[in-house]
């Protein structure tokens, strides 16, 4: 259980922050904190791919957008005309068809976000697999360009296709009523609940990733970064390993995009832009690359400040400056790996 002590500390911090906003009457801050938390999940996924396994990916925003747009499309299309077909009556028997009223009073039958969540995970996972198998054979600059290309493809498809709302995106996404009394939405009444739910997802993700990092597969991932030849020579199927971590990163981003879309009630093409992908990269870089805690802390900090508008006109420039300064002066990250390692061993005692 010692392994999870930092996670418990994190949970404590999360509660303290919520209480602080309650006491000081600044509950509105929870909105940006919740949004930052969803972005952090996508960054954690990239941290595994780029930080631990050493495979640069400049298309993480593409997977975030896949998750978001999947649910946005499935929950805004009206399936009324098709409810008779066998597929939809099957969905209906599972309780996956929901109805709601539009502002004009029309009844819309749409697919349950639960089904959309599964679809988002499957689509992102399959895309990552289909892209990763050929592309992860490339290295360095080539991999960077190829993944950036993937991100641009997602962006262009979203911008150029009617069903995705073209340049305007999709804006009337209904809340995700997860269970009675709780929904993922931006309504003030659910603000605290959404805050805790987002952190719950982060903590689950963190526990899974910490387990992974400390396992045989995680060691193989880190070895890929350190010396691919060495991993290969020790019997690690490097191609499969890279694909697996790429899928994990993609699924995390898609889950984040999914919840963010319900939380915001919509999604726009800017979520899939190159600059968004670069933001994830700079968060992982400033967090110390192979360091999920660094990614978590810096991701929360930077996204929160950015969403609060602290950076003003220099919002994107800040991330550019971070990348340049980090690479020039602190290529090992702002939060040094060695320091973290010694803190970790302190917590864990001797291995």
């Amino acid at each position: 259980m010692k392994k999870y002590l930092p996670v418990m500390l994190l949970a404590g911090t999360v509660i303290i922050i919520q209480l602080l906003t309650l006491i000081t009457g600044k509950g509105f801050l929870l909105t940006q904190l919740t949004m930052s938390t969803w972005y952090v999940i996508a960054a954690l996924g990239l941290c595994m791919v780029m930080g631990y396994a050493g495979q640069i990916s400049l298309g993480q925003a593409g997977f975030f957008a896949i998750g978001g747009y999947t649910t946005a499309v499935l929950s805004t299309i009206d399936f009324s005309a098709r409810t008779g077909t066998s597929v939809f009556s099957f969905f209906d028997s599972l309780g996956l068809l929901l109805t709601r009223q539009t502002i004009y009073g029309d009844t819309v039958i749409y697919l349950s976000p639960w089904a959309a969540l599964i679809a988002a995970i499957l689509i992102a996972g399959l895309t990552a697999w289909g892209l990763g198998v050929p592309v992860l054979k490339l290295r360095g600059h080539y991999l960077g360009m190829a993944t950036m290309g993937f991100g641009i493809i997602v962006n262009r498809i979203v911008v150029g296709t009617k069903i995705f709302g073209e340049a305007d995106g999709i804006s009337n996404v209904p809340p995700f009523k997860m269970f009675p009394g709780f929904e993922i939405s931006g309504k003030v009444g659910f603000r605290v609940g959404n805050y805790y739910f987002a952190w719950l997802v982060v903590i689950i993700a963190l526990i899974l990733l910490i387990n992974l990092i400390n396992s045989r597969a995680g060691r193989a991932l880190k070895a890929l970064h350190g010396s691919e030849d060495a991993a290969d020579a020790m019997g690690v199927n490097t191609a499969r390993c890279k694909t697996a971590v790429f899928i994990i990163g993609a699924v995390l981003a898609a889950v984040a995009g999914f919840f963010m879309t319900h939380y915001n009630g919509g999604i726009g093409p800017s979520e899939s832009s190159v600059i968004k992908s670069v933001r994830y990269v700079s968060i992982v870089a400033v967090g110390g690359m192979a360091n999920i805690w660094g990614t978590l802390i810096m991701g929360m900090l930077l996204n929160f400040l950015s969403l609060r508008g602290v950076f003003g006109h220099f919002d994107d420039a800040v991330f550019g400056i971070i990348l340049v300064l980090m690479m020039m002066f602190m290529p090992d990250g702002f939060i040094r790996k060695e320091v973290f390692y010694s803190i970790k061993t302190l917590f864990r005692g001797k291995k």
Binding site: N211, G218, A223, G235
Partner: protein, 255 residues
């Protein structure tokens, strides 16, 4: 007795260069075999073909009764054929113990999902791995460096880490690529002691090495290559008296 490894008529062409020319030899279980020869004789090329880095132009490598030509490096490792590298390939972002545990990879099975869920099997395998590799650290005298990042070790210590890593899965055979390269005299002696210790344990080793003294001391059998052709094979004493070998090492146009 059928040999552990049988190499049959191995050939490799690089463009117009015939780097390895119909080389055949066997490696018996429990013996140490060395491949020697001047620079460019094709030693490393043979090594790379055995370990799956190059595809031979023709010829076959049988290991443990299986045809392993055409296998990728990670597959030959899964067959129990573990190697070290001439130019160290250690993971500098990992600690000593993690580097060595990496060598145990082929012995365990837990994958990504059981790793993430930290299943019973995953944890049991980790314990077993640790039990398997700790004696190796003890033996090589790097126990006190267990949690140090490998990048902070001396070159000689990094070589020890590589050896321990290759030994971690208790391999059927070891491939050592110039294990003494870059070591000082003292370290080379230590290496020689370690290799003879391994021999006593009944391990099978195939190595490529430049250090003649070391090779003569530890090998049971030696294969001599020159310009990709096997010119001699035999016990160290036979090789030392072989005229062709003396000629390529002491005289001739390429000495």
């Amino acid at each position: 007795m059928t040999p552990l490894m049988r190499i049959e008529n191995l050939n490799k062409h690089f463009g117009g260069l015939h780097a390895v020319n119909s080389v055949s030899f066997d490696v018996q279980k429990g013996t140490i075999k060395a491949i020697i020869g001047p620079n460019g004789a094709g030693k490393t090329t043979i090594f790379n073909m055995i370990a799956g880095y190059f595809q031979p132009s023709s010829g076959e490598v049988h290991f443990n009764g299986k045809l392993i030509t055409g296998m990728k490096p990670f597959m030959t490792a899964q067959q129990g054929l573990l190697r070290t590298f001439q130019n160290l390939k250690v993971c500098k972002n990992l600690t000593v113990i993690d580097n060595i545990l990496l060598g145990y990879h082929t012995r365990a099975k837990a994958g990504f999902i059981s790793g993430m869920l930290s299943t019973k099997r995953s944890r049991r395998e980790e314990r077993e791995a640790l039990e398997a590799v700790l004696p190796l650290l003890e033996w090589l005298g790097i126990m006190d460096k267990k949690d140090t990042f490998v990048g902070n070790l001396s070159f000689g210590e990094q070589r020890s880490v590589e050896l321990a890593r290759a030994l971690a899965p208790n391999p059927a055979m070891l491939l050592l690529d110039e294990p003494a390269a870059g070591l000082n005299m003292h370290e080379t002696e230590g290496l020689a002691r370690n290799i003879s210790e391994l021999k006593k344990q009944g391990r099978t080793i195939l190595l490529v090495e430049h250090d003649m003294g070391l090779v003569m001391d530890i090998s049971d059998e030696i294969v001599v290559l020159d310009f990709g052709v096997k010119i001699a094979e035999g016990r160290p004493s036979e090789i030392q008296n072989n005229e062709d070998v003396i000629r390529i090492y002491l005289g001739g146009d390429d000495a």
